[in-house]
């Protein structure tokens, strides 16, 4: 009994450790918030500085205010803000071109359908065999798992119509796997 239950001292130590952990977490979160604030403040300061320096330079060089005009009168002082991403925002929003889905060739679509049919067929045979014999066949879980994975792949690729590179490989691999599935189930029942 003494070996499995914490002593009051152990319990106290554990509680102390948890409290220390809480302090560290609190400090960590505070640092994150402060870091974010400093970054945002820095960006804002940069913008303010750029405008201020520009305005001061204009005044110093030309003795005019911060307005600038075009001779035909079409432009006034500062116009509306430009609605465009800056470099930081663009870098954050970039998405990889190479991972975009492509149209699946017909041959590969047929391969996906063949994989589904083969796996469903194996599953049906295993189900019927289990019903007839009254015992679950070893490897049924394998067929059900494969069927589940295929269903997920078919849903993701919209019935094998559009797929990114990794899903193209997955469709091909599922065909090969579906061909190997009966042999795998057979092997599991023999061994």
């Amino acid at each position: 009994m003494l070996t499995v239950k914490d002593s009051p001292y152990d319990a106290l130590c554990r509680a102390e450790r948890r409290r220390d952990g809480l302090q560290a977490k609190d400090l960590d979160t505070t640092c994150d918030v402060e870091e974010d604030r400093i970054t945002r403040q820095g960006r804002a300061d940069k913008d303010i500085n750029r405008v201020r320096i520009s305005d001061e330079a204009d005044r110093a060089m030309a003795g005019v205010g911060n307005a600038y005009e075009w001779t035909d009168g079409e432009r006034g002082t500062y116009g509306e803000p430009v609605d465009a991403w800056d470099l930081g925002a663009f870098a954050e929003k970039m998405t990889p071109h190479e991972s975009r889905p492509v149209t699946v060739p017909n041959a590969l679509r047929r391969a996906g359908a063949a994989a589904v049919l083969t796996t469903v067929g194996v599953g049906l045979v295993l189900g019927v065999w289990s019903l007839l014999t009254g015992t679950a066949v070893a490897g049924t879980w394998l067929a059900l798992g494969a069927l589940g994975a295929l269903a997920a792949l078919a849903a993701f690729t919209r019935a094998f119509s559009r797929a990114p590179a990794w899903a193209l490989r997955a469709i091909y691999a599922s065909l090969i796997a579906s061909f190997l599935l009966p042999f795998a189930v057979l092997a599991l029942n023999i061994i």
Partner: protein
Amino acid sequence: MQRTITKTKSENPRQILTMLLEQPVQTPATISPSTALVPAAATAQRIARLERQAPQIVKDAESAGVEIDYLGTHLLFNETRLYAGVHNDWVLGPAREANDAVVPKRERQTLQRLAASSVIDMPALYVAHEVPKERTKDLVVLGDGPVAVDRVTATDLVGPVPEPKESVALGETLGQRAQQAMHAAGQAARLAGMTALAVAVAPVAAVAGLAATVDPIILGAIPAGASSVGEPAAWFVLVKWDW
């Protein structure tokens, strides 16, 4: 006088973009050439200052391991514009749509390196797309300058982001292999031998069909003051690629 802008694959986009940005603006309602805008003294000084700062900005980018190309100064704008070329036209507009941010790996790394270095503050990014003339012939009669087009029209002109060539080639190759595998399975061939029967044939025709003349170019603009319409800015080519 009609401007002539020629573009071939070997040409430097710098020359083309510089020429495009120099064109005076016109609206679709007034296609006739408009009066070129002449900057006031204060603005001329701002532009002169941007010109002086530009080489240093290029050097700053180099220090971050990125080569950017200085195009010159031009006013910031908010609308998407259609520029006339001889063989192809160009759509140039602020980067603010999801499709604008679809970038291949190498160029993505370049932009991430530039953004992470924090040596350059690039407040506004623009995207230029090359558009075949067939797509714009029914739209407007282009004269000396660009015309403003709405976002929907611009999206139609540019078209969807092309499919990645590598993935298309992979799909064709795997399709052929799968066909052979199914054929072999149909003939009750040995399963282990099926994959060995596969022959990787590059689908040259399918890939060649995708090699359209669309050249996205990401431009960065550094304004003299606030990032607002009408503000003179130094323009740079950050990255460019062929789909």
